[in-house]
Subunit: 422 residues, 2 copies
């Protein structure tokens, strides 16, 4: 290697940094050529194997980085979340590789469409993975959506329970009411609504593994008479209900199918019911990362609020409340990622090292995206035009939250007393 | 009059009721022919002078009723709000007179456009009326927008103060911060923000009378150094601010000008500010009542949420919170209407009987519209992409509300003690 090759590589590295909007990171090539923007201290170092990797990074930064990180040819030293955070901040207003994103997005839209059959296939790829894998890093109840942390130092377990209560309070769930849930995961919320709010729940999901698991769980809890888990698509929801709930499914519906979802909701709750949609959204419309759609969530899309609001217009339904919980998803992902890292050897044994890197990247990238604001998390409460369940103010949500926390704290104290006296 | 004319009239009256969707009201002609739907007890009786009035009612029910009620040819016996409530419920799914509404709407859109000059003219017609008229039925601070009633039995005065505090808490207003207000009425909120939150406020309004009044008020309160009232359009907002607030102006902007308003907001608060929009909205898109636009609010439009959400998308701003307060506006209007009725003789002396009837109809019709859900009231909190003022949860809003109420209750108790001991 001559000094001039070295300086040529350094120039390429600087060009690459500049295409990324000059984030405070250090790029290093195998021949030790390196570059970092002047000023700010780099939050992490990215090691590239060769010029080919460097030129891929120049052409389509996101895909090239994610693929290289996954197959192990690109290495990162330092905090991965911090790296993805600064890069996504600096890239928000850079436009590197946009043509490539558009091209890949168009191809993915075609190959991963969310028809009845397409949805089943897309969902299968992610949610039918062995539940023992998810057990390694989710909370005890296996809730695989954004938690609600009444305070940032709540545990993940507490925050997932608080989220389920927040949802039930928002729709003012009453004993004996009938609820339909679209996209029920492993059944935690459906069971929570039955067990703690006395609701009769019919929960839909197209993931076979999740439905089978949820049914066993309901049976074990003696709730099979109160919670019915149905292996079917939201488009086939049947029955008439007081309330509709969907937590973390809208991302898999696709804007082309929102009218079908809206019609299914309206059929289910008519004009007198109410409901809640909880989903990952965005400030402005663009496709999700093609790497995520290719390897993690086929067919997924995070919509803007205006697209979701339009769902309610044909049915004269009212939007009662919208809450943005993006920092709660960043915190949730921080917990998941920490648990995932602690379990990384077991994950590697179940799958392989590439799988570990891919899922680490997905979790870290999502945490960064919620921190930066690239992704948002919305909860929308809505009500049919004749709904009689409209709270006067939202104060009761927080009174019940406080009462519940006080109760939990008292239980905790009693438990501690019992332990110390034994 | 022969029995057959009478039965012909009764048939016409029944046809008219049926075109209105058969609301539980009684229609009576001067010749004593009458009709009421079978079953439900009529909530009120409408007296029509002649067949001409009856046929107008058949052709374009809303305009004909409102014009006839205003000029005194159509009389109502019974509760006017209840009458308008049942008629607007039954008409939600009837479509009588739609062609007429469309035609008149098109004409009003042209003649009442919200250009710079058009807006000034439209606003002048309503808001430049003698402040002494508004004093007769608004609260002591002259807040002419939906109040926030922490509990339904709060007084109007308390509820308007609670609303201003709710707004200030939602944007987490801090001492020394700069706030711009678009559409400031007689200045109550701007002065509240300065006086109770230590903010520096620049408030815009195109109503000459309101600005003159607000300036005198700030001077009287010794706040002229902290609150600047500017007679100008929102499109001409200049300066750089921490927060943007607009309460009850969006209804006068018109969807054609939302992009201009959004650009003005973005210029004012950049990417790091936050703001609040409070406005009358609707579940689905359609023009406001032409009678209201012709006689009460020229150029007004109540938008759907999706149209307002789109305003934020080009600037990567996040929607943090949406609250629907429609029942609070119904309650506010109930207070206004009751005060208006108590002051009706003085209103008649200032204007005339027709004015009294028109404004009674406008207040009663608005109350009914919010009760029925024909109109909604939304508060949206938003933040720029780099905003650092994002609360962890919304619990603080209600803790401060409770603390404030407790404080007020204590003051009240002290005051009662002082009174009883004196």
């Amino acid at each position: 290697m001559t000094p001039s090759t070295h300086s040529f590589d350094a120039r390429l590295l600087r060009k690459c940094l500049s295409a990324l909007g000059n984030p405070p990171i250090r790029l290093v090539l195998a021949n030790r050529a390196e570059a970092a923007p002047p000023g700010a201290r780099p939050v992490a170092t990215v090691f590239l194997p060769d010029r080919r990797a460097l030129s891929s990074l120049l052409l389509h930064p996101e895909m090239a980085f994610c693929d290289g990180y996954s197959d192990g040819t690109i290495r990162v030293e330092g905090d991965l979340v911090a790296l993805l955070d600064v890069v996504s901040r600096s890239m928000q207003h850079a436009h590197a590789g946009e043509w490539y994103l558009k091209l890949v997005s168009r191809w993915l839209n075609l190959s991963q469409n969310n028809s009845l059959r397409g949805s089943a296939k897309n969902i299968h790829r992610h949610y039918d993975l062995d539940v023992n894998f998810y057990r390694l890093w989710l909370d005890a109840q296996l809730v695989y959506t954004c938690a609600y942390f009444p305070s940032p130092d709540a545990s993940l377990e507490e925050a997932q329970i608080a989220k389920m209560d927040h949802v039930c309070r928002k729709i003012q769930l009453q004993p004996g009411e009938r609820v339909v849930e679209a996209g029920c995961g492993w059944g935690a919320l459906a069971i929570h609504m039955a067990k703690h709010y006395g609701a009769n729940v019919r929960a839909f999901n197209v993931s076979k593994e999740q439905i089978a698991f949820a049914r066993r769980r309901a049976a074990r809890e003696g709730l099979s008479h109160q919670v019915e888990f149905i292996l079917d698509d939201y488009r086939n929801i049947s029955g008439s209900f007081d309330a509709f709930v969907s937590v973390g499914m809208l991302e898999h519906v696709g804007t082309a199918h929102y009218a079908e979802l809206a019609a299914a909701i309206h059929r289910a709750i008519g004009d007198s019911g109410r409901g809640l949609l909880h989903f990952i959204g965005r400030n402005f419309d663009r496709p999700l990362s093609p790497w995520i759609r290719k390897h993690i969530f086929p067919g997924a899309h995070a919509p803007v609020l205006s697209a979701v609001m339009k769902m309610f217009e044909p049915f004269d339904a009212s939007v009662l409340d919208v809450e943005n919980l993006r920092f709660h998803y960043a915190k949730t992902l921080e917990h998941w990622l920490a648990r995932f890292e602690r379990a990384r050897d077991r994950v590697a044994a179940m799958f392989d090292e590439e799988f570990v890197r891919m899922w680490r990247l997905y979790l870290a990238g999502s945490e960064a995206a919620f921190r930066v604001g690239d992704l948002q998390l919305f909860q929308i409460v809505f009500a049919g035009s004749q709904c009689q369940h409209i709270p006067w103010t939202r104060a009761y949500l927080y009174e019940e939250e406080r009462a519940h926390e006080k109760l939990s704290a008292e239980k905790e104290t009693k438990w501690m007393h019992a332990t110390s006296s034994s």
